[in-house]
Symmetry: C2
Subunit: 371 residues, 2 copies
């Protein structure tokens, strides 16, 4: 099967690019001497997870997930050491307990004293990490917060460590800023682990991570594991902030031309907001790519700065780069679109059509979407 | 089953609101004397389609769809008179031909002479409408374009009429502007139908429509059918431009509180970019609702202007309205979020939990997503 034969729009995964990205992260994390717990929120695929966990110069310790649907899916495929890295509720705790009763080892996170009490009183509590805020201002207790020891005490034997996520690393634009954020992430987690230990509590896991901070950290002393995710696929935004190379974007949306306005140097393609998502992450960067950068069917950047300038539900309006000579496209021709944000674009699709740098479909890998 | 028992995030559909919206559109279109061909791109549900087609004072003539997955799904559920309203390609033509061979009556649209030739030469061509641009500047030939008669001639016996969509009606902000756009949509379609007929070609179908223009048109003389869709559910944006009433939003996302920062009047909920989409349609309006307006679990606007100010993948950051007295929320509490754009938010979910104005789940209706 060839890309030219696939129904469009659909999602293409370029395996050699994926493998290069996996290698680069394994080297970076291996050098830092901590374990890698890859976050599967982007790929949501057992096939990708197996590649991410295998045969590189880094120690791996299971995976991270963003939904309980992912936890259940990966447990069902034999990956049982899982951190569910979104704050737990009492109701979701019961779902986790069921998974763990069936052979899973799903750990959870909380920053809430009431929830910590519920976990501590549970007959089969999952391993629980206290979520720390290292500057992102989303979830987590601050490193100096008095509530920390209270939460630890309420968790009792369920306490397994601390975790933090420097999501604000996405706002970094220079390697030096990234390094500073990575150090703030490390320092917050290690400080809090020390406070818990100083109060006589066990804190075996000190978990940090985002793709930018995992790549840019100079040291992760005191940390036990890191949890990058989007590095596997990369996207236009991550390329812009230097987390992946410009040729390090592994997922693209295959689209067909469904309309043409040569006089306006414009095409209409069948990848709109539904196939691409409405993510506009590159809007704030030096290279605004609209709703995605348009590539040729082989995934090459032969169309210059051509981009999806408008995205209706099933229509993408492509503004062709006037500075680049290119063939005149006809209705039915194929193009590929590199996404602003791989996590959100991939989630619009239920499978990957895997290629090895060419236009032959080598495999079809399913995804686990939803909740 | 109660809303309080559902796993979150999930999609709630309030049936009485849906029925009110269906009634309002049926009255408006019935008064205009044209047939209603509801667009199922928003609802993507056979249960909703049956309600939209039944028992009101308007003549209905099948449905409109935005994907071939929808066409196949609705054919499989017995609704065979379908307009696939996105420009066809030669490859998709074969998929349509298969559906029609199996009992479907799926009509297609094109604005491309080459594609018209392929359709005209097909052994079993579907009924085809020529797409006209009435000012949106997306797809379609201009009303005065010389290509029109050429496309009509190439289609031969497959030619079944013309269609246009005033997508730019979404940019209208006042009833008068909406009326003008509705009239431009009508006039373009009728003018082109006249040109085809004047050249001796048959043009039985003159199809127009968007929710705003269907509601605001003063006359649809010469038109045979209209294709509104988002009116069924409504959303914050449609409420802002007056297509539905403020209490006319039928779909909301049910979410759980997963974090709290009372000092900052902020909550974290488990409906983020994945559950809500990153649509920011209300950003350009007088009432910017962030990534969604936050309601209480019963769907009431008891939380004032509280909104989802930030949307990470599985985290929504809620900024609570400081001007409104409200209970102190705890982790695990339920809220609902009204969407900016119902089409995109609903597409993040695979089913509806249907309620009748309360918190009891009366039914579960599946959706057909993807392509």
């Amino acid at each position: 099967m060839m890309l030219q034969d696939l129904p469009t729009p659909c999602l293409v995964l370029d395996r050699p690019v994926l493998l290069r990205n996996l290698d680069a992260m394994a080297r970076a994390v291996g050098r830092l001497g901590v374990a890698l717990r890859p976050h599967m929120k982007t790929a949501k695929s057992i096939d990708v997870a197996r590649l991410a966990l295998s045969g590189r110069e880094v120690r791996t310790v299971g995976i991270t997930v963003s939904t309980l649907a992912e936890a259940e899916y990966f447990c069902g495929h034999g990956i049982t050491d899982i951190l569910y890295a979104v704050g737990i509720t009492a109701q979701k705790l019961e779902q986790v307990a069921k998974l763990n009763l069936a052979g899973g080892d799903v750990a959870v996170v909380t920053d809430d004293p009431d929830t910590a009490s519920i976990i501590g009183a549970h007959p089969r509590p999952p391993r629980t990490l206290i979520e720390i805020d290292c500057g992102e201002g989303r979830g987590g207790v601050a490193a100096g917060d008095l509530a920390l020891l209270d939460i630890g005490a309420r968790l009792g034997n369920a306490l397994a460590g601390v975790m933090t996520h420097a999501g604000h690393s996405y706002a970094g634009r220079h390697p030096m800023a990234m390094r500073e954020i990575a150090e703030a992430e490390r320092a917050a987690a290690v400080l809090v682990a020390g406070r818990l230990r100083g109060a006589g509590m066990a804190c075996p896991i000190v978990s940090v991570g985002s793709s930018p901070t995992a790549l840019h950290a100079r040291t992760l002393d005191g940390v036990t594991e890191t949890r990058p995710g989007v590095y596997m696929f990369g996207d236009l935004f991550q390329a812009e902030i230097g987390t992946v190379a410009a040729d390090g974007i592994a997922v693209t949306v295959l689209a067909s031309v469904i309309g043409r306005r040569p006089a306006e140097r414009r095409l209409v393609i069948d990848a709109g907001a539904m196939a691409l998502s409405k993510d506009r992450s590159t809007a704030g960067t030096a290279n605004d790519r609209g709703f995605g950068l348009v590539l040729d069917v082989m995934g090459r950047r032969s169309l210059g700065r051509s981009l999806v300038g408008r995205a209706n539900q099933e229509h993408g309006i492509v503004d062709l780069d006037p500075a680049v000579a290119m063939p005149e496209f006809r209705v039915g021709d194929r193009l590929r679109v590199a996404p602003n944000h791989a996590c959100l674009t991939a989630a619009q699709h239920d499978r990957y059509f895997v290629v090895d740098g060419d236009d032959t479909v080598a495999a079809i890998w399913p995804r686990v979407n939803g909740w």
